[in-house]
Symmetry: C2
Subunit: 146 residues, 2 copies
DNA sequence: TCACAAAATTGGAATCATTACAGTTTTGAT
DNA sequence: ATCAAAACTGTAATGATTCCAATTTTGTGA
């Protein structure tokens, strides 16, 4: 559980002036590893910050992503998701329940090197999809019933 | 340049009954490696098929993706893109001009193996972003002018 | 060839995430 | 305390995608 001090330091480290709203949003991301959507963040915080506007959540998350403090994930067709874990890792999304998990990752550097010279690669994301542990059985029985 | 016969064979191979519209859409994808959006496909074909409906393009591309005949790419925040090249490869998107290119790929298998046991991974996509050859200079001058 | 049911297509309306914008509040320097 | 800049807010607009009911096409059996 990260405390406010750590959150504020994180924001300042990435050149984001800490405001009440920005601290709350960043704090939420640093303490909840669920790769939340804008809606999830908004709904989770609007009880404690009743005046919070969804536009602020949109703006703040875009700002945090632009400054490199968080990752913007496009693993979900519908909604953008955010991740405060900016270390090198891949993502997995269950095709049944929709949950997004982190995957340990080694070797991505080797993969991207092949394009060196032709393109300047600044970011890369590995998205995996399939069935999570608790949905495996469901997926198999569904396959049989076709 | 793929001819109609090859397109029809491809559709049948993936269990998609070939209709006039489906053939046209698949043919377009097989002959244009631009990773087009629904809109691009629709605009490119509506001249030759005046009655074509955008809903049909949506439905057909979703169907082709579901049957495994094409890839659905979420590399673009705004629009889904489609790719008739279903061999193992990564994608690159230029952050300035928005063009999407294929990248040769080796090593992705090694990367995904790490999650074996916990998740059943059925698909994976590696998305790289940065600056393409013709936008490199633009990116650098933009960086200086901040 | 005709009739009919199933599949495919169509177009307009509805949905829903995201963005634009204009007004209000907060912050920080003097 | 004052004032300008930055941040926040809420509503309206946008735009990709989906829904759905009506129409057209396809394929099969009489």
């Amino acid at each position: 559980m990260k405390n406010q001090r750590e959150v504020i330091e994180k924001l300042e480290q990435f050149g984001v002036k800490p405001s009440l709203q920005r601290i709350a949003i960043m704090e939420y991301l640093m303490n909840n590893f669920v790769h939340p959507t804008v809606d999830t963040v908004f709904n989770s915080l609007s009880a404690s910050i009743p005046t919070l506007s969804k536009t602020t959540v949109y703006n703040t998350l875009k700002l945090l992503a632009r400054q490199g403090a968080v990752l913007e994930l496009n693993i979900d067709d519908k909604n953008v998701r955010y991740d405060a874990n900016i270390s090198r890792h891949a993502h997995f999304r269950c095709k049944i329940c929709g949950s997004v998990y982190d995957l340990p990752l080694a070797g991505l550097e080797a993969v991207t090197v092949e394009a060196a010279g032709k393109f300047v690669i600044t970011e890369s994301q590995l998205y995996c999809k399939g069935y999570c542990d608790s949905c495996k059985a469901k997926a198999e029985s569904a396959a049989h019933s076709v």
